[in-house]
């Protein structure tokens, strides 16, 4: 347990000794901030128009700003996650430090979970940038915080799932670029699956759409916490980490 924390801490810290963590946070903050600006500008304009015409339209911050924005955040994270996970194991394999980890009295599973945990912490920091914007809504408006919390839980679970897949892909190569590229491709594919199957209501389409990571996020974005989606994400995380573990073990047999 202590070695998991140790590796996790080290991994998290090493993101911040290079530019990568700052770049990703800045990138996410900028794009999310722009989305926030556009969304609030529109709602302010609409509410002014509504007032001038003397109509009283119910304005709902949750529905009109927070939900689309967090959906937007989930899409941006698809692009950021490959950059977080690509170095995790690939770099260790390239530089030879993997020999240190594998000859230390630590279980392989601790290494995998520690690495994934470090990536997870960075992902939380990146998501944290969006709180800056939402904090303003809470300061000047009165949105309901329950659906916001559930949407964030969804973002965290979806991110954890993609990070675990990225960790697995990073164990399979010693080239960071390949690890990043393949992870990006897989993320894109999982994202597109929900589009391909939007018009297909047959059994096969349903299975495919069930596998899409985005479809499961929709419920969270709406503020619905369903066990089905939580279990889907948790089992995907478990499965991807299990594959990473197997891939690490095979490293010993093949290299």
């Amino acid at each position: 347990m202590s070695s998991i924390l140790l590796i996790c801490k080290k991994e998290f810290k090493s993101y911040f000794t290079g530019p990568i963590a700052y770049l990703l946070m800045a990138f996410f903050g900028l794009i999310f901030g722009f989305g926030f600006y556009t969304a609030t500008r529109d709602i302010v304009r609409f509410s002014l128009q509504a007032q001038m015409m003397g109509q009283q339209q119910p304005m709902n911050l949750n529905d009109q700003i927070i939900r689309p924005l967090l959906g937007f955040a989930s899409t941006i994270s698809l692009f950021l996650i490959p950059m977080i996970t690509m170095r995790l194991i690939a770099e260790e394999k390239k530089s030879g430090t993997i020999e240190l980890l594998l000859t230390s009295p630590v279980n392989d599973i601790s290494i995998i979970i520690g690495k994934w945990g470090g990536a997870m912490l960075l992902y939380l920091c990146i998501l944290g940038m969006s709180l800056l914007n939402l904090a303003m809504l809470f300061a000047w408006g009165k949105p309901d915080w329950h659906p916001v919390a559930i949407a964030y839980l969804g973002l965290i679970l979806q991110g954890g799932c993609l990070l675990a897949i990225g960790t697995f892909i990073s164990t399979t190569t010693k080239n960071q670029i390949i690890a990043g590229g393949v992870t990006f491709f897989v993320c894109l594919l999982l994202w597109l699956l929900s589009w391909f199957t939007a018009f297909d209501t047959g059994g096969f389409g349903q299975v495919i759409s069930y596998l899409s990571i985005i479809t499961h996020f929709d419920n969270f974005a709406k503020g619905l916490l369903s066990m089905k989606d939580v279990i889907f994400y948790l089992s995907m995380i478990f499965f991807a980490l299990f594959l990473s573990l197997r891939s690490m073990e095979s490293l010993r047999w093949r290299s």
């Binding site: 590796i7 530089s95 020999e99 240190l100 230390s104 009295p105 047999w253």
Partner: protein
């Protein structure tokens, strides 16, 4: 302390290590010698539980590497060929991390780090990023990380590569100090390294064990065969070099004749004898009887380098096999 039996490691197409057996006593420094690609690193990786063997067993500090890898890893310090350092970490931060990883508690870690920083002379750079260090310092950080948890067995893959001569001497001294309580296996292709710091030598070539003996025995045994440098001068006219060479080769007990130099009318040859044969008298007689002058005759000691080449060169497979058997029975 280390017991290896019938160790074999096969890759898809090649056999990296072929049926190697040896034992290392507690507190010994053992040199692991071999040309590039001989299987040194593979053997070390098996000992440190990085790779599993295809066949055979390896036992380190009383634990089998396959059955109890965690216990073995706790008792072993390993410096791979390239020091496993993270360039983005500071030296002390890195040693802290490795120490904790190897199971040192948070209470003892600072004194342990101070300890190895002192032992490996890293005081000047302890707050620098490892990425900014020179190769020599990086190597020392690598050694520091291997000894931080005070392991019973140290496995060092080419510990002095990339160091300057002064640092090499320092590392040798460090190893000698460590030898009492630690058992050390170090691989190298620098032979003087072995002559200086090791008590026993294991020579492997192409995955096979060629010789295992103490340094002194090995040099003595092979010094039984001596090498003599002979300078021959013609009395009248220049003797034909090939003729001289043929004459010398015909002397019984001579294994090899090499021409080293020919200047004016003087020819210098190096003559090697078979084991346990004394050839100087015959040599002198032959030269004088042929009507040439014998200007000089001196012995050229076979260095460990020559021995090593003799044992590992592929030209003489029969000899190598013979040595192998001798090595095995010793």
């Amino acid at each position: 302390m280390i017991k290896v039996e019938g160790l074999t490691k096969r890759y898809a197409r090649t056999v990296a290590v072929d049926n190697i057996s040896f034992e290392v006593e507690k507190g010994q420094i053992v040199g692991f010698l071999g040309p590039n690609g001989a299987g040194k690193t593979t053997t070390m990786r098996i000992l440190t539980c990085f790779l599993p063997p295809s066949e055979g067993t390896a036992n380190v500090a009383g634990y089998d590497v396959m059955a109890n890898p965690l216990e073995v890893k706790k008792r072993i310090g390993y410096l791979p060929e390239t020091p496993p350092v993270y360039p983005e970490m500071e030296v002390s931060e890195y040693l802290n991390f490795v120490g904790r990883l190897k199971g040192i508690g948070s209470g003892a870690i600072h004194s342990k780090v101070d300890d190895v920083v002192g032992k490996c002379a890293l005081g000047d750079v302890r707050n620098k990023l490892i990425g900014q260090l020179s190769k020599g310092y990086r190597q020392r950080v690598g050694i520091a990380q291997a000894i931080i948890h005070n392991p019973a067995v140290l496995v060092l893959d080419e510990p002095t590569s990339g160091l300057d001569p002064k640092q090499i001497i320092e590392i040798r001294e460090l190893l000698r100090n460590l030898a009492g309580e630690h058992t050390i296996i170090l691989s190298t292709h620098i032979l003087s390294e072995v002559e200086h710091s090791c008590e026993r030598v294991i020579i492997i070539s192409r995955g096979k064990l060629v010789a295992i003996d103490s340094v002194a025995n090995l040099t003595n045994r092979l010094r039984g065969s001596e090498a003599v440098a002979v300078e021959v001068q013609a009395v009248d006219g220049r003797p034909n070099p090939t003729e001289v060479q043929q004459r010398l080769e015909q002397i019984s007990g001579v294994s090899r004749v090499m021409m080293k130099e020919s200047k004016d009318s003087r020819l210098v040859f190096e003559v090697e004898s078979l084991q346990g044969r004394h050839i100087r008298a015959d040599l002198a007689r032959t030269v004088v009887n042929s009507g040439w002058n014998l200007n000089e005759m001196r012995s050229v000691g076979l260095s460990l380098e020559d021995i090593f080449l003799q044992l590992t060169s592929a030209e003489k497979p029969a000899e190598a096999a013979q040595e192998n058997q001798e090595g095995g029975t010793k």
